[in-house]
């Protein structure tokens, strides 16, 4: 998450003669212009995310959620990977504890991402900051961080890009959930494999190169074993925690010069 830091700081230092990135954020504003700038920058990204929204809608509908329920989830949760995992866990009766716990585990990364926003967001009022973060998702967070690192001081950028993402996410969910109602037996078309394919695609997006290998092998091994031995869906959290534990135990400190491809 540190790519671009060095060059942005150099630029900022040249402009303001300050080397502490926190002090560059003094003049962050929260304006309609910033909102608009974020909204427009978010449009192409939101269109890309809408594909996931349609797929989520279909999966949610197959899991037994009504169109209104799927739309409500998209409108209030706004976290694609977590929503897809949650509706895959859906059953009758709903395993509420497993669903909510898994949602929290999938979304724990947002704690770190929210922390990265703080140098700029602490200049906003609590109302502005805490309403903005409702609308943050992976994609508009990345856009916003890039904008801040380029020296922009539009505090409403996250909100603007988040609102357009939110609107398309809900609309796409409704489209998918409506279409999902009309599809027949999924196995007939090989669609039973669709969920696996969706999750493999999500996994490819979370892949961070060789450093992902060890935790992922641990997660897969524990999940397969737990799935054979334990009832219910606990193999998912068991596998995930095993992956995190292996990472915590074996993590090697990254050199300060590490450069990764931008996302």
């Amino acid at each position: 998450m540190s790519e671009g830091d060095a060059s942005a700081e150099q630029r900022d230092a040249a402009e303001t003669a300050a080397t502490d990135p926190d002090s560059d954020a003094q003049s962050v504003t929260f304006t309609a212009a910033g909102f608009r700038q974020g909204f427009l920058a978010g449009v192409p990204v939101a269109i890309g995310v809408a594909g996931y929204g349609v797929v989520f809608g279909v999966v949610a509908s197959r899991a037994g959620l009504s169109v209104a329920e799927a739309a409500l989830m998209s409108a209030t949760v706004l976290a694609g990977a977590a929503q897809l995992v949650a509706v895959e866990l859906w059953a009758d009766p709903i395993p509420a504890v497993a669903v909510v716990t898994t949602t929290a585990v999938v979304n724990l990364r947002y704690v770190l991402m929210g922390a990265a926003l703080r140098p700029w967001f602490r200049e906003l009022t609590p109302g502005q900051a805490y309403s903005s973060v409702f609308f943050f998702a992976d994609e508009n967070w990345a856009l916003t961080m890039a904008s801040f690192r380029d020296g922009d001081t539009q505090g409403a950028y996250l909100l603007g890009s988040g609102v357009v993402l939110w609107l398309l996410w809900i609309a796409a969910t409704v489209v998918g959930a409506t279409a999902g109602d009309l599809v027949g037996d999924p196995a007939q078309y090989g669609l039973d494999f669709a969920v696996t394919a969706i999750f493999l695609t999500l996994a490819a997006g979370f892949w961070q190169g060789r450093e992902s290998l060890r935790p992922w092998i641990a997660a897969a091994s524990v999940a397969v074993a737990a799935n054979a031995l334990l009832p219910g869906q606990w193999y998912i959290i068991g596998g995930a925690l095993a992956g995190a534990a292996v990472e915590i135990a074996t993590h090697e400190s990254e050199g300060p010069t590490e450069v990764t491809a931008g996302d």
Binding site: R109, L200, A219, I237, A244
Partner: protein, 104 residues
């Protein structure tokens, strides 16, 4: 078929609980920095969680599958890595699994 506008109270309650924990994760990063000091090691552990959840989800399904699923999984991953496009990798994965099941 479910009425598309129906809102089951239990479902709504679970969704709102999901929304609450999700908002808590999004807001707590803003709140916690400066108050809680996470080690780099801990951050790396949190960072691998979403990928690890997905892997944990998929691994048993693949382990219980057969050759068609394994080949289709490889094709899906290759397409996802190459294009980054969900609909493309979805189409390839489903297409390959269907082809293999009908051939073998």
């Amino acid at each position: 078929m479910i009425d598309s506008l129906s809102l089951d109270p239990t479902v709504v309650a679970v969704i709102l609980a999901m929304a609450a924990v999700t908002y808590a994760t999004k807001a707590s990063g803003l709140w916690a920095v400066g108050r809680v000091d996470l080690s780099e090691r801990m951050e790396a552990g949190i960072d691998v969680l979403p990928g690890a959840v997905i892997v944990s989800f998929v691994a048993p399904a693949l382990a219980n599958g057969g050759v068609p699923e394994w080949v289709a999984a490889a094709a899906t991953l290759a397409t996802a890595r190459k294009t980054g496009n969900l609909l493309a990798s979805l189409a390839v994965g489903v297409g390959v699994v269907l082809a293999f099941r009908n051939v073998l």
